[in-house]
Symmetry: C2
């Protein structure tokens, strides 16, 4: 698990190879087991394989090219009527989805949608009702690249007892 958390990266290039249904369903199942406020499970998922629909989605979103290239694109849909914390609940669900993808040898890319000009066109293409929101699109496929990405030192992000009280410490190591 620690290896998945540390090793997962945004993959934007994919092999021309279909993704097994079983693997897609495991990604969705992982997302569905995320925590949510009062276990409200305020999410649903639209799984898109159809190339023409993916092409239309890709045209709408500035970073959408991956949705045309990846064999699977998933719209992560939130219901604000079920939870006022829907954005963070869905964020937790997406992270589980990406970890499950990585653990199954798949690459994924998370594209933010909620609150952007891409949200309404995507809702129209996928027939998503007005009361619902699209948090993001996730592309899934076998990776054709191995991107690397760093992080700021953890100590710059941690405060002790009060905000502004920081101290030096070594970067933790995950158990192997």
């Amino acid at each position: 698990m620690f290896e998945a958390i540390r090793g997962r990266r945004s993959v934007r290039r994919y092999l021309d190879k279909p993704v097994e249904e079983e693997k897609v369903l495991r990604c969705l199942y992982a997302a569905h087991w995320a925590p949510s406020a009062h276990n409200s499970q305020p999410w649903s998922f639209v799984v898109v394989r159809d190339p023409e629909t993916r092409r239309r989605l890709a045209e709408v979103h500035r970073w959408g090219r991956f949705m045309a290239e990846a064999p699977v694109a998933i719209a992560v849909v939130g219901d604000p009527g079920l939870s006022s914390f829907w954005r963070e609940d869905l964020g937790a669900a997406v992270e589980n989805m990406l970890l499950a993808a990585y653990a199954q040898g798949l690459g994924s890319c998370w594209m933010g949608v909620a609150g952007t000009e891409y949200e309404e066109p995507i809702k129209r293409i996928l027939g998503i009702p007005g009361r619902l929101r699209v948090l993001c699109m996730v592309s899934l496929g076998y990776p054709a690249e191995k991107p690397t990405r760093g992080r700021q030192p953890l100590k710059s992000k941690v405060h002790w007892e009060k905000y502004g009280v920081q101290r030096d410490f070594e970067e933790p190591r995950f158990p192997s």
Copy 2:
């Protein structure tokens, strides 16, 4: 990893046993390796062990009792200036934190704060600057209970190609 995703639960009762610093840091490190829009890492963390501060936090939040009882409470702080997707980015980070807690034998509980009447009082107690937001509080400790919780059938959450097109399928199984 699948076991952690499936097995993690909100734990609200804790043993009177301190949590090793190393384990707390691993939880934060896991959170820090979450994805975020443009790798903006729009999070920071305030780690609270002081019993008096935890008592004050617990008094503020309706569900805050766990923060007084658990040996560690963590404020998950977001910077909307770094990302307009900060809520979902932090949601992903929190899920990593909870999974890392579970994998180390710790229990945790996620308490929503952003947008509630608890947010300003918590910011005051912890000295968090006005431009920042508190997404949530997370309690950490050795569990004194083993809660269970279910999910709706996955098939009720999945749509195929278009929203509203649903079909029957067996619940996926995670590899063991």
